[in-house]
Amino acid sequence: MKLIIAIIKPFKLEEVRDALLGIGVHGMTVSEVKGYGRQKGHTEIYRGAEYAVNFLPKVRVEVAVPSDQADRVVEAISIAAKTGQIGDGKIFVAPIDHAIRIRTGETDANAL
């Protein structure tokens, strides 16, 4: 099993969700995060006081899938989340040791 972690631009979330539904992935966890990479922040000025805002809002999407589906999921997210501008984000693939469905107690492949 693999945990796919994607940091994407917030407005791309619906597109990514639709793309994943299209390839049969029906669940995900989403959180609002801040971060930066090559995309620089901006400056805000409030009545003469200037602040550099270095962290940009992003959305973190986490999807757990069987290992053989990982590549398809990564590809789907990549295409859906891409704008071609700096700040599109990154995708990480991490191994999962165990998975459990809380309601039924099913484990591993049956939990995904």
Binding site: E44, I45, Y46, R47, G48, A49, Y51, A52, V53
Partner: protein
Amino acid sequence: MRVASLARDALIAGGLTVLTAAPAMAQDAAKDLSQNLAQTGGKIDAADTAWMIAATALVLMMSIPGLALFYAGMVRKKNVLATMAQTLAVVALGSVLWAVIGYSLTFAGDGAAIGGLQRILLAGMSPDSISPFAKTIPEALFMIYQMTFAVITVALVAGSVADRMRFSAFMWFAAFWLVVVYVPIAHWVWGGGFLGRAGMLDFAGGTVVHLNAGVAGLVAAYVIGARHGYGSDNFAPYDLSLAVIGTGMLWVGWFGFNGGSALAADSRAVFAIVATHLAASMGAITWMALEWWTRGKPSVLGMISGAVAGLGTITPASGFVLPWHGIVIGFAAGLVCFWSCTWLKLRCGYDDSLDVFGVHGIGGATGTLLVGVFAVPAVGGAAGLLAGHGEQVLIQLYGVAVTLVWSGVATFVLLKLVSAFLPLRVDKQSEIEGLDVTQHGEALQ
């Protein structure tokens, strides 16, 4: 140390003045009850009373929730509730203090330095009582209208020390400040004291409210010191939409603040309202234009700051000038206050968190001086420079100077006095964690 001993001397002198006047006040008390009805020659007018009741409600709304929203929207999330708490507490505490002692010392009796004790706990105020200062409305209405001015002045001061003052110390300071700083100045200008007698013009509180609060705020900002992280950390406002809503309430409420200062439902009230509204509008436009020019973008914070600057600046002039003067005065307010909030503040390095001095202090002083220039006899019975009475500017300057000195010195002394018993600031860790949680045990979710 020299400043402290000067302040101590001023306090002793002030105390002696009040004490020597006390025997005379006691004698006056007995006569005053009948005096009120027989000699003021007043008669309650229904229209004036109706308007003044409405005006009182409008000005109270300026404090709660107007100022509460205006201020709270500009601080950081962790201090929003605490900032509102300061306004709420001041309204509650200040209202009671005003009824108990503030009103009497400001508007009863006829001392040059301070009022009398005849109206302690509003004693002697009957349904028929009329104040010599407002001859067509019930005295109780005049009293509560003035109450709304007193409490908002105290609430304004809190803006300078937002994000770091200990709530308990603030409450003590606010209570003393109302009685020792606000009451004397209000008496001198409006209550028959020496500034009004000298011919000083302040229609609705350019000195009594705005310059007073501004100077006190500046002194407090210096005494308490800058916020931890000031100049380096991100202090961006939590939610400027709250501040915008607050500004709307202040702007509309000001129709009662300046319009109501005519103490009657008449043309002077209307002229005051028109001048006020035009000044607010022009202040907003001017600040917007300045930002557009200097930084390329007009900000919402700039618009609301400009509007409030215009409102504070027109306040002393509104019942003495022609409505179109409001445009000129609003423009001046935008220029001067923009300069003081951006250039002056950075240059001097003080942390006046919410620019009470930059907007209200500087604006109030500017407006008070401009009355001396623009006052027109047909409107308020007084003439300024342009109407051939240039001396008025000097009288205004005198009033500004007295207010500045009393407010500055007395505020300093009070802060030092309170700090002898309680730390004025919260400790550093509490300041970092936030006042909502540490002072009030609450948090925005």
